[in-house]
């Protein structure tokens, strides 16, 4: 497995020497060879590809771009239970920003997203480096680290909800082992509930970060490392000064993926705390769902969805810009 830029429109190809007598293959402006004696065939070849792609293009225009535009418009109306298409300005956004619950959700996203990304990066990178030391049974260990990624966040949430259950789960286990003063009631503590989401989220996703970093480590050029070893550099120094900096593109991919998971995280919080106790572990995705579908506040729900989109853009666009820029300059 290798890590290629996740989002690249460029064709990764070796610079092929042009074959004499053949049109250069990677010149996309070269006319496709015409089927001998078949004008109909040529016509079909020109239009069939576009025809095949067109349903997808139309679907994307309608269901992605069109729907984003509709949601944007909905957020500028007075819609409540039913959509109302009368333009009403930015009132929903004003209401949204006046709601304390929205700011609780936004702050929770900050806490969860920040810690989730930090711990996943730290654990994932450390595990990848350790696994890279010619470990026996590496395959088995890797498989163990990675299996949570196959589970749905709902399953993860249900499992951790039971483990973190104060009185029956971890807490009782520690009591049975003699640590009678041990308390761990974060799940029902309004100040701490959001941190239980971090615990479960990191458990689920850190193995996957490890897999990405490990793939990146396997792609590091040996000759540079050998040269550094000849110069007498120690293993930690080599990792710190040479190997980790060369993982830059992997860091971008990982950040891209993790921030995306964090911003849209909905299922995990739903299963683990359902946003509670009260609204203390609310996140924007749950806010959006509840205001749109259980409270009949479509306009407000749309406004919060637009804010989520804005957050995604604010994080992803600079990251992707940096990633492609890095790629263009040969990293």
């Amino acid at each position: 497995m290798s890590v290629t830029p996740l989002f690249s429109a460029r064709r990764p190809r070796a610079p092929a020497a042009p074959v004499a007598g053949k049109p250069a293959a990677n010149d996309s402006s070269a006319k496709p060879p015409v089927r001998p004696g078949s004008r109909l065939g040529a016509l079909a070849d020109a239009w069939l590809p576009r025809l095949v792609l067109s349903p997808t293009i139309i679907a994307s225009l309608v269901f992605v771009y069109g729907f984003i535009a509709l949601t944007a418009y909905l957020s500028l109306t007075e819609s409540r239970m039913m959509p109302n298409f009368e333009f009403a300005g930015f009132g929903q956004y004003e209401r949204l920003f006046d709601l304390e619950r929205w700011w609780v959700a936004a702050a929770n996203l900050g806490i969860f997203g920040g810690l989730f990304i930090l711990f996943c990066l730290a654990i994932g990178l450390s595990m990848a480096i350790l696994l890279d030391q010619r470990i026996r049974h590496e395959g088995a260990l890797r498989a163990i680290y990675l299996y949570p990624m196959a589970l749905s966040f709902i399953v993860t949430g249900a499992a951790w909800k039971w483990i973190l259950n104060p009185g029956l789960g971890l807490e009782k286990m520690m009591h049975d082992w003699g640590f009678t003063n041990f308390t761990f009631d974060w799940l029902v503590d309004p100040d701490m509930a959001i941190y239980t989401v971090v615990i479960a989220g990191v458990w689920q996703s850190s193995g996957f970060v490890m897999a990405l970093f490990l793939a990146g480590l396997r792609g590091v050029d040996d000759s540079i490392i050998k040269a550094a070893m000849v110069d007498g550099a120690s293993l930690p120094t080599i990792y710190r000064r040479i190997v980790i900096p060369s993982l830059r593109p992997v860091f971008f991919s990982v950040l891209l993926v993790l921030s995306h998971i964090a911003i849209k995280s909905f299922d995990l919080v739903m299963a683990l705390t359902a946003g509670g106790p009260g609204t203390s572990s609310d996140v924007p995705a749950i806010f959006m769902y509840q205001f749109s579908f259980t409270r009949g506040q479509l306009g407000l729900g749309a406004a919060s969805a637009m804010m989520m989109l804005a957050t995604v853009l604010a994080v992803l666009v600079p990251l992707m810009y940096l990633e492609t820029k890095g790629a263009r300059h040969g990293r």
Partner: protein, 292 residues
Amino acid sequence: MAADLHLEGGRVTPGRIFIYTLLVLVALYYLAPLYVMLTTSVKTLDQIREGNLLDFPLSPTTAAWAKAWSTACTGVRCEGLAPYFWNSVQMVIPAVLISSLIGSLNGYVLAHWRFPGHNVVFTALMVGCFIPFQVVILPMARLLGMADLANTTTGLVLVHIIYGIAFTTLFFRNYYVTVPDELVNAARIDGAGFFTIYRRIIFPLSLPIFMVCFIWQFTQIWNDFLFGVVFGGADAQPVTVALNNLVNTSTGVTEYNVNMAAAIIAALPTLAIYLVAGKYFVRGLTAGAVKG
């Protein structure tokens, strides 16, 4: 990285003992929840109340599994997870097959039948991988309602196909650009048309990427919760939604053994695929990780 980088490799040194200890401890941390889920699901409620999390089941019983499968209450209905499990099966199979096939054709066009602006089209399609779905569910809910597809499995299949295509297209396109243009162009000179080339050259080469795509899409669609809870209604709810309802039912005594059995049932198909075809699963993760 280099094999000869680690001079002490093979020999037992304190450093290596430390590394192995750490790796094994971390492995135990990842495995612990699975162990807890499995053992809890075969314990009796009495043992759960008296014993602790890591205890081995004293008198294992499958009663909780039977209850989770056929009689546990998810919200107001008490038919267990079975009907919802089958809802998920009925949803996931057509959605995976259709979105993969469309993705394959799209990827073929984008990789080998480039036309002016194909890069713009590709980039525009890829945006579908990045948007938070919250930003499209309100219009989608209304559209499904107007099309009489709200609360149906067909509606869910449709939604998963639409928002899965960006990913499947990405997978196939990135795979097909590694098929040499010369191969395709030679076939064109020989008079092969668009679909002939696909059928004779591209499709036969596609088995590995179809595997990756199937597994990725299966995992994503099976594990989906947002679309299921918004568009599934009462009759087409997938198993993830039913599991959430079961776990969060607040009436009566919480039967943790039933909850854990239900969680394993909901996780079984994707876990099985991971065990059988983990290689392809990992490839899917690393290639299309964005959807996460």
